[in-house]
């Protein structure tokens, strides 16, 4: 009897049990710890704030569905301004990353192979150190009395007329600081996909264009750039998506007067203990992110299905 049960169990395992286990373990985990919290956020966004603990309620004295959070999101200027600030900061950071990252990635492909590997490692290396400390490094650089600030101040005073002289440049706690640090921390995300893309391009295409009468800069414009569009889109979104929801950088170096959306969510949640409001903003931010993500996955699948990319 015991042997029979054992063989039935091993039968089940051999036939489909093993694959059922492999599928269901991560499936259930994600349902429980990713989907469920996500649904809670959505449900919370239509709950009503109460002074109880936890600070929300449904039904009873409160309306079953309360859209006050969403209404306030569109009424109170603070939230929309925060959203616009986030989009602008993330977009400017993305463009700057592209302007610096593209020539760097292209320059890497022109290096000798052993040099290339060392330089690639040097690009990834700061990424392995702490993210917080990379932000912190710029806090030290931007402070009013730091050597970097004094250097820039001296330069400024040298090139500008008398009346414009400054004792220091107010870099910290501004959107400038946020964008600068975002570029610093997210630049590798731009360089790496671009490099991967540019490295695969066939150098004989450049020669073919030159042979047909095109000067080197024209070759870049006609041949290299159009072929690197998938890399530009991948890198751009890898910078834009995390930058737009960023919390750490605006908290440390940002202007408290014009906060980014991530900081607003965190403040509503922790300082004001307004869970429904925080959840409403979160849902709005997620909806905003759906668009670039869909662009990304559209290009990703297109790239995978191109016949020339198939082995």
């Amino acid at each position: 009897m015991a042997a029979g049960r054992h063989s039935r169990l091993s039968d089940w395992f051999n036939r489909r049990g093993w694959s059922d286990i492999i599928i269901s373990a991560p499936y259930i985990w994600l349902l429980l710890f990713f989907l469920l919290p996500f649904l809670i956020v959505i449900a919370m966004s239509v709950a009503t704030r109460t002074p109880s603990a936890p600070p929300f309620g449904y039904g009873g004295d409160n309306p079953a569905l309360n859209f006050a959070g969403y209404a306030r999101f569109f009424e109170d200027e603070l939230y929309l301004r925060a959203l616009v600030t986030s989009i602008i900061n993330a977009f400017v950071a993305m463009i700057l990353c592209l302007l610096i990252g593209y020539p760097m990635a292209l320059g890497l492909t022109r290096m000798q192979r052993n040099w290339r590997n060392i330089l690639l490692m040097l690009i990834i290396l700061p990424f392995w150190t702490s993210f917080l400390l990379r932000v912190y490094a710029w806090m030290g650089m931007m402070g009013k009395s730091s050597w970097f600030n004094r250097l820039l101040t001296d330069l400024w005073n040298m090139v500008t007329p008398e009346g414009w002289a400054m004792s220091s440049i107010p870099m910290m706690h501004s959107n400038f600081a946020v964008v600068l640090v975002m570029v610093y921390t997210y630049l590798p995300f731009m360089i790496l996909p671009l490099y991967a893309n540019l490295e695969r391009l066939d150098p004989t295409l450049d020669e073919a264009a030159m042979d047909l009468g095109t000067r080197p800069f024209g070759v870049f414009w006609d041949v290299t750039l159009p072929q690197s569009i998938p890399g530009i889109i991948a890198g751009g979104l890898l910078v834009f998506i995390p930058a737009s929801g960023e919390l750490v950088i605006p908290t440390l170096v940002g202007d408290a007067g014009s906060p980014m959306i991530g900081r607003v969510i965190s403040d509503e949640f922790s300082s004001s203990r307004d869970w429904p409001m925080a959840s409403s903003i979160a849902v709005a931010l997620l909806l905003l992110m759906v668009v670039p993500t869909m662009i990304y996955s559209h290009f990703q699948t297109k790239a995978e299905h191109k016949p020339e990319n198939r082995p």
Partner: protein, 357 residues
């Protein structure tokens, strides 16, 4: 087109050594050699992608030194075709024309003409990955010809095609060349391709041109063991000239077990050590001892039957082997030589090639 004393060094490696060549207008000229012989480097110097370390290249009497690729009236058809993957067939062909001073209508007219020439009009709007390998080859050709270059360089133009398509494309290339009158320089490692396509051939080895001339000159009168062996097949024997009698020389060839008569060559006086090279199709195989000189006895060791002809490998009295071609003119011919048959080999004095280097 004239190449004068051109050499190219990559570090300590001499890729091309003192090459002198002249290519006439409207000619198809082939650079033939194995991989690493320097033929591609020479081609890239003509296109302007590499500068020669020494020597000069003249095009229509004009020195090309220091002229960048985009200013040379020389276009190249790349081995990989190097079609721009993000442009349609039509845009690829039109690409070079955007640097020409011409109206939009003229440009369209030219592109249409080129697509007509290579019979790709119906594929004008396809992308390169949507057409076959042979069609891609023709797009690359049309693109390179569209600007009406003085000189077209073709890097292994047929290497990426399969055998059937290659033969057909060869003739297409020749007819397109005839119609456009553009000078072609073709780099190839395939001797048959070079022989069919080219008016003249230069055989290259280790960066040097070993011999240049018409296909017939190179095949019938090779100037060295290397050229003789590279073009077609040969069986070679060591020998020594015993007497020179005007046009004909007597050569003692121990490998053949006899003294033979061959056409004299310059630089081979009596007593000179020479190599005697025999091409399989120049040797006749008979059962009876033939009249005249150069008759050698042997025994058939191997027969490779190809259908239209057969290749016999015959053991000589000295123990050596020689390859002999026989045409199978009749069907199931009675008395065709068979394994282990005793046969006689003979050849015309003019057919034996004497080589001194």
């Amino acid at each position: 087109m004239r190449i004068e004393g051109v050499s190219k060094l990559f570090g300590a490696f001499q890729a091309v050594r003192d090459v002198n060549l002249t290519v006439g207008k409207g000619e198809i000229f082939a650079l033939l050699g194995g991989s690493g012989c320097g033929k591609t480097t020479l081609l890239r110097m003509l296109a302007g992608f590499e500068e020669p370390s020494a020597g000069r290249i003249f095009l229509d009497g004009q020195d090309m030194t220091g002229v960048p690729p985009w200013e040379r009236p020389v276009h190249m058809m790349f081995q990989s075709y190097a079609l721009f993957p993000h442009m349609s067939v039509e845009k690829n062909v039109a690409y070079g024309l955007k640097h020409e001073k011409m109206t939009k209508a003229e440009r369209e007219e030219r592109v249409r003409g080129m697509l007509d020439l290579v019979q790709l009009t119906q594929f004008a709007h396809r992308k390169p990955h949507q057409i076959s390998g042979g069609q891609r080859q023709r797009v690359a050709l049309a693109r390179a010809l569209a600007r009406q270059p003085k000189l077209l360089l073709l890097d292994e133009p047929l290497a990426a095609l399969d055998k059937k398509l290659r033969e057909q494309t060869q003739f297409e290339l020749m007819s397109i060349q005839e119609r456009t009158g553009v000078t072609f320089i073709v780099v190839t490692h395939d001797q048959e391709e070079a022989m069919t396509l080219a008016d003249r051939i230069a055989v290259m080895d280790k960066g040097e041109v070993r011999q240049s001339g018409t296909p017939t000159e190179i095949y019938e009168y090779p100037n060295s063991r290397f050229v003789a062996g590279f073009i077609g097949s040969i069986t070679s024997f060591d020998g020594r000239v015993t007497a020179v009698e005007g046009d004909l020389s007597r050569v003692d060839v121990p490998g053949l077990g006899t003294e033979i008569v061959a056409r004299s060559v310059a630089g081979a006086p009596s007593g000179q050590e020479v190599t005697v090279a025999l091409r399989p199709e120049k040797v006749t195989l008979t059962r009876e001892k033939p009249e005249g000189p150069n008759a050698i006895a042997g025994e058939i060791k191997d027969i490779a039957y190809f259908g239209k002809d057969s290749l016999y490998r015959v053991t000589l009295p000295s123990g050596g082997l020689i390859a002999v071609h026989g045409v199978n003119a009749k069907r199931a011919e009675a008395g065709r030589p068979d394994w282990y048959d005793k046969v006689w080999l003979s050849f015309d004095p003019a057919a034996a090639i004497l080589l001194t280097e």
